[in-house]
């Protein structure tokens, strides 16, 4: 038996960033390791520059996910007006002042979101400093506001963290009850995702590489890892 921290994640818009180059800012259909670690770190109040603490949290946690609905893709056209040539010390002004400059330019990007996606997350911790009880308390009263991938995606339901003792990942995830109001979002059979070295109680249908193991928040570096997937059913 292991203690799993299980919580629900829902927002009308969520963004689980994939590899973003240039104008295209894509999203995956379920959260990656970096996103979940970031979420827990925000709840605990770890600042971006606390490299050591982030590394400790990263090494402590393993995650499994039950995806009720991957949601629909939204590709948002995003423009930013910018003063020409980004003059020296320009950033010391207010946005209103900045936009008074003559000859403003425009920066374009396409930011993708998932609409109405719903999933459950189960976390295991191997570090007493970041035990599941402490993480659960942090999610109930977070230090920093939480969000689902982008700051403009606040959770639209309490995460309702619960510590569940279960023989394996699947029974931990399956014994959690999502908020009734969210039940209507479920589409098809739930899928399961997890990382290497977890006692899962289910077979994996396939395994895929993901590039979301954070190495350094400050340098924004990520390492590859394998993700295991069960497509649901029996």
């Amino acid at each position: 038996m292991d203690d799993y921290l299980v919580f629900q994640l829902y927002a009308p818009l969520a963004a689980w960033g994939g590899q973003a180059v240039g104008q295209e800012r894509p999203t995956n259909d379920h959260p990656g390791r970096s996103a979940l670690l970031g979420l827990l770190a925000a709840a605990l109040g770890l600042k971006r520059e606390q490299e050591q603490a982030h590394a400790q949290l990263r090494d402590a946690c393993r995650f499994g996910i039950k995806l009720f609905s991957p949601g629909l893709m939204l590709r948002d056209f995003h423009t930013i007006q910018v003063p020409p040539g980004a003059r020296k010390q320009q950033h010391l002004k207010t946005r209103r002042d900045e936009l008074r400059e003559p000859k403003l330019g425009t920066m374009l990007s396409f930011r993708s979101y998932r609409q109405d996606a719903l999933c459950l997350v189960a976390a295991l911790s191997s570090d007493a400093d970041y035990g599941v009880e402490r993480l659960a308390d942090a999610l109930l009263e977070p230090v920093f506001p939480l969000y689902l991938g982008r700051k403009s995606c606040p959770p639209a339901a309490p995460l309702d963290p619960e510590v569940i003792a279960a023989p394996d990942l699947r029974s931990a995830l399956d014994s959690y009850c999502i908020a009734p109001v969210l039940a209507r979002l479920q589409t098809g059979t739930p899928r399961y995702y997890w990382e290497a070295g977890m006692n899962t109680g289910m077979r994996h249908d396939y395994r895929a590489p993901r590039h979301d193991q954070p190495l350094s928040r400050r340098r924004w570096q990520f390492a590859p890892r394998d993700e295991y997937v069960f497509l649901g059913g029996e």
Binding site: P12, L72, L74, F77, A86, F144, P145, S152, P154
Partner: protein
């Protein structure tokens, strides 16, 4: 424990196109399986940050609205014995910080809002320049816009890939505003007549085009991390209160500027619920997973929102410690009450 301030608003916009996609059509989102109108987070923030309203709310009420700041600076410099040509140049540089100047002049084009602290800073700079007989440095000029600059960046953050030392984490989280009702984007086909066309050769229109629009009641959600805001403002509690008040006022009254000349779709919020507490903040958008329909859209939306708030409390325990609301449909509560509540 962090103190969070959450704002939930219902704002009804008549036919409008406030925030457009790359085809010029109103932005949308699918929620609960139906199409809704959407105003993006960035669009809302831009409208609030750049509004006259936001700026004047931040200047103390004794603040000055003027075009003639440059003139005052010029006279001050001359009085202190600076040569006319230098005084002209420096006055233009200083006044230029507060607004765009008229061509070859130091008069500000539009009335600028100048707070007492800012006027004091300008006077101090004039003294320094006259004493040292030198031109103002860029850094000194930027420091003149003290309060609005500090508040703008403390609330909404700043990210500079090139110089991360200047990065500030935003204290405010603004969700995309999404309508509570299902919408169908309509197309307005329009023509423009060429008044000088005598119809002798060709009786067609001078221009043809189409414009997408729709209307709805938007659910807007804002979460302010009060502790972070005070920290971002170097512990200035009073300025933090002013910042929160300005944000609430702008959010309740200022609409994005998109297509306002064609639709005049300006709207004040009809319902606002403010909550304070250290519990995990959550929006109440699930109240509208099932699109609101029927006659009294606004009344139903308000009722659903309050019901959802109570249901979350019932199931998960209290999600906030204190609450305050205004309802412009029934005339209950006031914006001033909300501002006093969130400031405290």
């Amino acid at each position: 424990m962090t103190q969070f301030i959450q704002l939930h608003m219902l704002t009804a916009y008549p036919p409008s196109n406030l925030n457009r996609d790359d085809l010029g059509r109103p932005k949308t989102a699918i929620v609960g399986g139906t199409e809704r109108l959407r105003i993006s987070s960035q669009s809302l923030k831009r409208a609030w940050r750049t509004s006259e309203h936001f700026e004047s709310a931040l200047a103390d009420f004794r603040g000055t609205r003027t075009k003639r700041l440059g003139e005052q600076v010029f006279e001050g410099l001359i009085e202190k014995g600076v040569s006319e040509s230098k005084a002209k140049k420096w006055a233009a540089e200083i006044a230029g910080v507060f607004g765009k100047l008229k061509k070859d002049s130091f008069e500000i084009e539009q009335l600028a809002h100048v707070s007492p602290e800012e006027r004091q800073a300008v006077e101090n700079l004039v003294d320094t320049l006259a004493n040292e007989d030198r031109a103002p440095e860029k850094e000194e000029l930027n420091l003149l816009r003290k309060n609005p600059k500090a508040v703008d960046i403390a609330l909404f953050g700043r990210m500079l890939a090139s110089s991360p030392a200047y990065n500030v984490e935003a204290a405010t989280q603004v969700a995309h505003a999404i309508t509570v009702n299902q919408v169908k984007i309509e197309d307005d086909f329009f023509t423009a007549v060429d008044d000088l066309n005598t119809h002798e050769e060709d009786a067609g229109a001078g221009h043809m085009g189409d414009a997408g629009f729709s209307s709805g009641i938007f659910y807007q959600y804002i979460c302010i991390d009060r502790d972070r805001l005070v920290e971002n403002l170097q512990g200035d509690e009073e300025l933090a209160q002013q910042a929160i008040a300005a944000l609430v006022e702008a959010a309740a009254k200022v609409a994005p500027t998109g297509k306002q000349n064609s639709f005049a779709s300006r709207a004040y919020t009809s319902y606002l619920l403010a909550e304070k507490g250290s519990q995990q903040p959550r929006s109440l958008s699930v109240a509208f997973l099932q699109a609101v329909r029927g006659g009294d859209l606004l009344g139903t939306a308000i009722q659903r929102l309050e019901q959802q708030r109570d249901n979350f409390d019932k199931v998960y325990g209290d999600c906030a410690d204190q609450r305050c609301s205004l309802n412009a449909q029934t005339g209950e509560g006031s914006l001033q009450d909300i501002i006093d509540f969130v400031k405290a």
